[in-house]
């Protein structure tokens, strides 16, 4: 950059967005030579107790709605206009629910220079006209900039409380972007590893939620530890097979990273996907009803991903290659007996 400092904008301010903005705000202060000292954060404006959320964040230094009780650094500047939040940024950190990605990118088109680079913390894959896209690739395509991705065993609240954890960054450009983003995200409480396999990393982030549904079905059926760990193991193998079948450059080593086995373990131990599936078993309700009750109307990402993966595989006549993913879909959406998920393990 030859003396120029990177201006960093965080696009999104939910639970994970706020935790990561906090970390990024801390880290730019540690590298004043490298980063501009203000971190702009795009906040979807809403009223909280009669005040604007942006005002609360800028004055009280707390996102009272999505990360209550955690102080944000003073160098975080919340903005409700996404263009204003991102204009002339050199680094964009995308951290938002995946359904908002396209609209947000379209809004950003005019204000992003092509020397900007981005990182996607968006969980999930984009199923579009029965093709799969990586969100990092879509951001890259729409904005005409490089985009890498970060994923790991990172419960947002624990990162915000500075409990020790690890995460993984996947980038085509390990020596350039990899180094910059390592400086932006690595702290003494979040240990970052940079790998080249950005596709495998994003496959893990999406498919782990489907495996967590299998784990939840197992818990709902009171199947015990041997069975549950069998589901997790088979899920890990299907995640790898899915990655290697449909994407280039997916490596086995990726599944040993935080974005792989570690995130899978965390997601299958707790988490909303596991919980929804457990509650679904024996409830005589549809999965939508269970989600409505447990998640205040939000969807658990795993159920949507299970449906999308099934459509994708079915269109290719490849459901047999992924018996666990297929069985999760059948139990959740086709009234298959929950016990039939064991058959998936006997392939």
């Amino acid at each position: 950059m030859g003396g120029q400092q990177y201006k960093v904008s965080v696009i999104g301010s939910g639970n994970w967005g706020s935790a990561i903005a906090r970390l990024v705000g801390q880290n730019v202060e540690k590298h004043p030579d490298l980063f501009d000292q203000t971190v702009r954060v795009w906040v979807f404006e809403e009223e909280v107790n009669g005040r604007k959320l942006t005002d609360i964040i800028n004055n009280d230094h707390e996102n009272v709605k999505y990360l209550p009780g955690i102080r944000l650094p003073d160098n975080i500047k919340a903005l409700s206009d996404v263009q204003e939040a991102a204009r002339d940024a050199n680094i964009l950190v995308f951290v938002m629910p995946h359904q908002f990605v396209y609209k947000t990118c379209e809004n950003l088109r005019g204000v992003i220079h092509n020397d900007c680079r981005a990182i996607s913390l968006i969980k999930g894959l984009d199923f579009h006209n029965n093709e799969i896209m990586l969100f990092s690739d879509e951001i890259s395509r729409i904005l005409g900039i490089e985009c890498c991705a970060l994923s790991g065993a990172n419960l947002a609240s624990e990162v915000a409380e500075e409990k020790y954890g690890e995460s993984t960054i996947g980038t085509k450009n390990i020596e350039t972007d990899g180094k910059i983003f390592h400086k932006l995200f690595h702290t003494n409480y979040l240990n970052i590893t940079v790998i080249g396999d950005y596709s495998g990393l994003q496959v893990c982030g999406a498919l782990k939620n489907v495996v967590a549904i299998a784990a939840g079905i197992s818990d709902g059926l009171k199947y015990g530890n041997n069975t549950k760990s069998a589901f997790i193991r088979r899920g890990l193998l299907e995640m790898r097979k899915f990655g290697k079948t449909f994407f280039g450059g997916v490596h086995t080593e990726t599944f040993f990273e935080s974005c792989g086995v570690a995130d899978l373990i965390t997601t299958c131990a707790g988490g909303r996907n596991r919980k929804v599936a457990e509650a679904f078993i024996g409830s005589n309700k549809t999965i939508e009803e269970v989600e409505k009750e447990l998640l205040n109307g939000q969807k658990s990402q795993g159920t949507t991903t299970a449906l999308e993966i099934h459509r994708f595989l079915k269109a290719r006549n490849m459901t047999d290659m992924f018996p666990l993913m297929t069985s999760v879909y059948q139990v959740i959406y086709e009234n298959a007996p929950p016990e039939s998920i064991i058959d998936a393990l006997q392939h």
Copy 2:
């Protein structure tokens, strides 16, 4: 075998031994062409409520001491004399605490033919004169017969209750012994995979217990999910590195098997090693005192393994290569502050 049927003897009758004798008893009945219909089981004789344990097993078909509440098949024949239990056997299933292996093998020497083959279900590695041995190799050496190994995410009580699970057999002779042992152990509730890497399989079975101590330390310190999954992940990597450094033929794929990641997950979620370590933190007691209180005087295998691995690595100046294993040893045996285990993750 040309019409001859394999006579199977199970050497050991604790919790796991009884569960596996039950399964083997069921399986020989499914293959009358292949296996003799009586399964002899060596039982270390003791008195229970004024009766001999062998009599109870033979008459009541229940090991009331080590697997209460579970009916054993009628074709299980308990014997208190190990030579009588094993004489002329074609298949020996070793399933006992590792400290009894040598003495038992010495006792068996005279009664075993060299067309016999064995499988070791013994957990742990044998550290002897500062070298590591696999128990399968030691059994093989002492008795002059082939010996393979079985290990997986198998809580004994769940296998006994026929809850679905998976396990792994590692053998040099996949096409011959692999097929026989698959028939002997595979059921609709225990799915067996046969692999060639018997060394990696046994390394996993021993070192997982040390990783579970790290997980227990993390739980004792209330470090949360991100940290715990980081310990499990790093532990998995050190298990692999240990296997590849000190044994030939250890493959990455082994760590994706039930004996690898699945057993590690189960062991770190529950289990006595994790529990002992959790209770040790903040207790102001030695690990021996904690074990005495929690385990009725038994040792948790992980603490012994941690000590043995440390001595082994130290003698080779290689402790730095295994920071997590080393840190577990230091916290448990050298009064290192428990929080210092985080340093092992920051290597």
